[in-house]
């Protein structure tokens, strides 16, 4: 079995948003939609203050509430753990969006240019009508993974089979791979670090791990 997961080393992330931009470029998301976001957390009072940057997006849960509630089976969990959406089945009811505790799902009804006014030539070329008025979210760049694997590449190791956000991370904060493979980048990282998963108390078993310390 394969279980793809992502790790974000919070000691390394500098909040540069390169992953956000890379995701938008790779997936041509509409102007107001970011499948990969980096949040800025600040906590405490001077001099005990902490600031940390936290990449968020679909957590590709092992027990995804979005899949349970979807009335159309458009949302499915693949055998490799990636939660996918069939845009041709989705009716855009938004139930998955209110079921997701990670605010990872977006429904866009009107395509806007990121620069205001008419869509640019590039935006026009990459506009995808099938993604309008349906739920969309991070796919872990599933197309890229599938195409890379078909060429014998290893997701998380070979960049052509690895999500765009991970490839673009300037600080090496993001990693990707198969949790079931002890030699994958994520397995090796998790074996030697302390980490948490967000909102774990909700029982969703997210596939996104936040590293905070060495063991």
């Amino acid at each position: 079995m394969t279980r793809y997961a992502m790790t974000a080393d919070l000691r390394r992330c500098v909040g540069c948003q390169t992953c956000t931009t890379a995701c938008r470029h790779a997936n041509a998301t509409p102007a107001e939609v970011q499948w990969r976001q980096v949040l800025d957390f600040e906590q405490g009072t001077y001099p005990q203050v902490r600031r940390v940057f936290v990449p968020v997006g679909c957590q590709h849960c092992a027990d995804p509430p979005c899949e349970h509630v979807c009335p159309t089976t458009a949302t499915k969990k693949r055998s490799d753990g990636i939660v996918s959406i069939d845009y041709d089945l989705c009716i855009g009811c938004g139930y998955c969006a209110v079921a997701c505790p990670y605010q990872a799902r977006h429904i866009t009804h009107k395509s806007q240019s990121a620069f205001g006014g008419k869509r640019t030539e590039s935006e026009e070329k990459r506009f995808d009508e099938s993604r309008m008025s349906v739920a969309t979210k991070c796919t872990f760049c599933a197309d890229r993974i599938d195409a890379g694997k078909a060429r014998g590449l290893t997701p998380g190791v070979d960049s052509d089979a690895t999500p765009a956000c991970v490839n673009s991370c300037i600080a090496g904060a993001l990693a990707f791979g198969d949790l079931e493979d002890a030699r994958s980048p994520v397995s090796e990282l998790l074996a030697r670090t302390e980490y948490f998963r967000m909102h774990e108390e909700l029982g969703t078993e997210p596939g996104f791990y936040y590293i905070v310390d060495d063991k």
Binding site: E67, T72, Y102
Partner: protein
């Protein structure tokens, strides 16, 4: 909204008043079907038709809300786990049964329609609790609240057709009032984000007075002194209070989970931190 604001729960933008109308109209219509067997036989056709119309109207509002309305039949596919699919199937049965019961009014058909209406209402109640991303909806008590609110609305709506069933309605709104109070207590204790609690705190007295206190007093007045007008006004207010609660629940309390960092990296030897912005500290 700044990046820092983005860490706190914000109001969901996917379900608006149209979704609320499904819970309001559908809940009242199915509640009416459930209440029908206790009504006089001569009321059956009108009650069954009114129940079917209310459920249909609620579903129509949902249809207006979905992004791809012409694919709406796909909603019937995922009965295995989706309460929305189950609600859709239940609506088909409830609508068919109630329309047949309106044309051929018999106790047996009215009971079948009541059972189907009950299933529909139960599905509606579970739809909200399955929305794990919205703390104010996912509380298990919300199912009981939606069910009891629907039953109360159904009993209250009987007043449209004649003298309301005063004792039944009184019992329903008392139980509903207790559930509303319990919901408020859970919210006060930190089960919902701060913003959701501050809104609930503001509206709750209005809901409680409109939906529980005044109707209960008016119904008691009718029971004690025989004042049918008081009972009718009480029934109207009990109904309005139920709609008000559901409208607020769906359109005002729908703040999402927000984000949390249970542990910050321990760089620099500072004390360990955790952060859950927008949530009460003492939970």
């Amino acid at each position: 909204m700044t990046l820092i604001d983005r860490t706190r729960p914000w109001h969901q933008t996917n379900w608006d008043w149209r979704a609320a109308m499904n819970f309001m109209c559908g809940g009242a219509g199915s509640g009416l079907l459930v209440a029908a067997p206790v009504a006089p036989r001569s009321w059956y056709p009108a009650i069954e038709l009114a129940g079917a119309c209310a459920i249909s109207l609620g579903l129509f509002f949902v249809w207006l809300e979905i992004g791809r309305p012409f694919r709406s039949l796909n909603v019937f596919i995922h009965a295995k786990t989706s309460w929305m699919t189950r609600e859709s199937w239940a609506s088909l049965v409830a609508l068919s049964a109630s329309i047949i019961a309106a044309m051929l009014p018999s106790m047996a058909l009215v009971v079948v329609a009541a059972l189907a209406g009950g299933v529909f209402l139960y599905c509606q109640a579970r739809i909200l609790t399955a929305a794990k991303g919205i703390p104010a909806w996912r509380l298990p008590i919300v199912s009981a609240v939606i069910l009891m609110t629907g039953f109360s609305e159904g009993m209250a709506l009987l007043a449209l057709f004649g003298r309301p069933m005063v004792v039944g309605l009184f019992l329903c709104i008392v139980v509903r009032g207790v559930l509303w109070r319990r919901y408020r207590t859970l919210a006060r204790r930190g089960a919902v984000p701060e913003k959701a609690w501050s809104i609930l705190k503001r509206y709750f007295p209005l809901v409680e007075v409109t939906g529980t206190v005044v109707p209960a007093v008016l119904l008691l007045l009718d029971l004690a002194l025989g004042l049918p007008l008081a009972a009718t006004i009480g029934a109207f207010l009990a109904f309005a209070g139920g709609w008000l609660f559901k409208f607020i629940l769906v359109t005002r309390l729908g703040f999402n989970q927000g984000f949390a960092v249970p542990k910050f990296p321990s760089i620099g030897g500072l004390q360990p931190f955790s952060s859950k912005p927008g949530w009460p500290n003492s939970r």
